[in-house]
Amino acid sequence: MKSKKKTAKKAPKSAPYTLSSLEASVVLDIKKEGLESIFGAAYLMMDRAYVSLKGDRAKAVTVVLRPKNPKTTKLKALAEEFLSDFESQKVRWAVAKNNLPIREFIAEQAVLIANGTIPPPAPAAAPEPAAEELTDDQRAEIEKLIAEVESEIKTMNDKKVAMDPKGIKASWEETQENKA
């Protein structure tokens, strides 16, 4: 949105935002901060502010916040709330990305168990060794197993692309991803 050209008030030296009389703006580097976190934090401001984005998704995005109710919402507080939510978004998205293959795997397992294709786990006959009894080798084995599962899932996905290079079987979401 075109805002009225007013002289930007400079925020305190260390603050990563700019305040005008009507808006707060924050410039964020995509490669450093992550597209999803930026959009996620901007999205969460929508109950208190009108949010617009400028720039380039591949390089840097400026998030512009205009309070819905300027009488009760101070611009500085709005900008700082955004930055606080933004830091949390970075953590949330990092955890989400780290765990996506596992979530997908468990969801697939759930379908297979519910449909009777694979049996549910048998009740434990003997107690498992307590955590402190695991040796370094056993711990390394477990971490290797997790890495193998993640690699297997990636291989399955790569095979899927090789078998269907034109993406004929792709879902609508997948075609949008390819377009982007």
Partner: protein, 149 residues
């Protein structure tokens, strides 16, 4: 009011959806250049003042962001959400063809019972229907949008 939207930020899909979502409050006109969309918004209500139009423009921007971020999240979780949607629809479907009525419903006794139930019900409806019938009017008209401006 004109709004410039960078193509490197916003997609046409989200523009079209946002325009549809807010279509009860706004008329939205779209022009495009190589790098940007220029959106002209016009409030449907004639008595809107500039501050209210600015708020509507803000709502439009928020809805754009809502759609764009929804696409991002949808793509990210697409495998899981597709699995859930497909699973629930397939399970609910129950099969490729509707099941045939059970054999118990084909018996003469069952058909006789049903015919009797229908007869009794229709007789009771005729007997108990109100004597005076009001004008058989139309359903209520759609509620008019109370614009939040």
């Amino acid at each position: 009011m004109k709004i410039e939207l960078a193509k490197k930020i916003y997609s046409k899909d989200s523009l079209l959806i946002a325009a549809q979502v807010l279509s009860s409050k706004l008329n939205v006109y779209l022009e495009e250049s190589k790098s940007a969309y220029t959106v002209t918004i016009e409030a449907k209500r004639k008595d809107v003042v500039p501050a209210q139009l600015a708020a509507l423009a803000g709502e439009f921007g928020n809805e754009l962001l809502n759609q764009e971020y929804r696409f991002i999240v949808g793509r990210f979780n697409s495998k899981i959400s597709s699995l859930i949607v497909t699973q629930t629809l397939m399970a609910a479907r129950g099969g490729e063809a509707p099941a045939a009525p059970p054999a118990g419903e084909a018996t003469p006794e069952f058909k006789k019972l049903v015919a009797e139930l229908v007869r009794n019900a229709e007789a009771e409806v005729a007997r108990t229907m109100p004597k005076k019938i009001a004008d058989q009017g139309t359903v209520l008209p759609p509620v008019k949008e109370q614009d939040i401006v």
